[in-house]
Symmetry: C2
Subunit: 251 residues, 2 copies
């Protein structure tokens, strides 16, 4: 039986990532979280704060995947245009979401109250639900299969936490690692043959330089524990026969 | 006079990024390097080790930009398929590049010599030039406007170093920052108006939480120093009038 595979796309929105000013942390954070939900991150696009570019990326990835996440561009300033872009992609108007407005009114009560910028964060595409934000005022937004998250990583972390267990996924991809001071270029034939013999498994090879020596970690991924174990056993046997010391779990 | 703007796309290739196992460092590294070359990173796509997906991303971004960079998938193992994907996208065959073969033969002389996996790293699309690799054996590859770089960040750093000053670019985008414990939601109107008054400048707003307080850094970007200075002066004047303390250079 082949399990249905669930996939997600991610659109990272922001000039600050493309200029190199900010090092993105959301790709790795969302990728790891999706793995646990049984959903594979299938593609990421990083686009600038330009509405047409966001619309194009959102349209391409929401259609190709079960889920689409976006990060960035949902704050109070003029460069926060993700809501407008997603509404345009979905062909719905932007509204002031009553529940979001109430949340923001409460959050800003002793901080000077709502103003034009703060009210921007109550805007959603029509038909949206809110994603709780445990760290600050402005909520995330879900509409259809599109999830709009914050750009600030710890705020996104809280939103992911609120979504945990709510998205339908498949069997999680499990992974096991074996590594050592093994040049990948000396075992490339072995890796290819072992992967070919285990069709439910993928083997990734991740070389490194450490303590002046060349080494690699080999990661086997599968949705099936028995297949993964068999693949790992054969890889370890092959490494042993080739005379390499290795460590289960990787080094 | 409007300067010609040069742009680049980046395709990051690798299941390890999409699984969350590896935190990408190449996006920020290449973004920063491109800024100095006077080239704007216009879009990034992260795709898995699947040939059709790489071809699709390469095709889309090489046509939309002056330059296209790829990272990852140029090593010796079965999951290293970037050369094949780029050759397919360009409609040229894959050859063993004589110069690359010579480099690898020399590099592996006292490391057991060439084998099938190592020889994979001498494969290039026909018509390619090599990009020197100062850190290890296998070179990067340039063909047309496409630059194939390593996945390991310090190897890519060496390749970028070798390319410094060789790509035609425009006026570099300069950036200045001003920041403080200023909630961006209290100055969103000011930011929008100042940006509107300086059409050659973009203002980005980057909120943070620190020491239990809310603050923001505002980054003004422009290719013109005089415009940028005028925009910065007006923004600082506005912050002052609104009663906020700020620090030039950001906090």
């Amino acid at each position: 039986m082949i399990d249905r595979i669930y996939t997600a796309g991610l659109v990272v929105i922001g000039d600050e990532i493309l200029s190199g000013r900010t090092h993105d942390k959301n790709i790795a954070q969302i990728a790891s979280w999706l793995q646990v939900q049984g959903i594979r991150l299938s593609e990421v696009r990083v686009v600038p704060d330009v509405i047409e570019r966001i619309v194009e990326a959102v349209d391409a990835l929401r259609e190709a995947n079960d889920y689409l996440f976006t990060t960035g561009g949902i704050g109070p300033t003029h460069d926060d245009i993700t809501v407008d872009a997603v509404a345009q992609a979905l062909g719905v108007p932007v509204i002031i979401h009553p529940e979001a407005r109430a949340i923001l009114e409460k959050y800003y009560t002793d901080k000077g109250g709502l103003n034009e910028g703060r009210l921007r964060m109550a805007r959603t595409p029509e038909g949206a639900e809110l994603i709780p934000n445990r760290m600050s005022g402005a909520p995330g937004i879900r509409i259809g299969n599109v999830y709009l998250m914050a750009g600030v990583p710890h705020i996104t972390a809280g939103m992911l936490d609120a979504l945990t267990g709510t998205l339908e996924g498949g069997a999680p991809l499990i992974a096991e690692t074996v590594g050592g001071f093994i040049p990948e270029s000396e075992v490339s034939g072995l890796l290819r043959e072992v992967e070919k013999a285990h069709e439910n498994c993928q083997i990734g090879s991740y070389p490194f330089f450490r303590e002046g020596r060349v080494g690699s970690n080999f990661v086997i991924r599968s949705t099936d524990r028995a297949d993964l174990d068999a693949c790992m056993a054969e890889l370890c046997k092959g490494l042993e026969e080739a005379g390499f010391a290795y460590t289960r779990g990787g080094i």
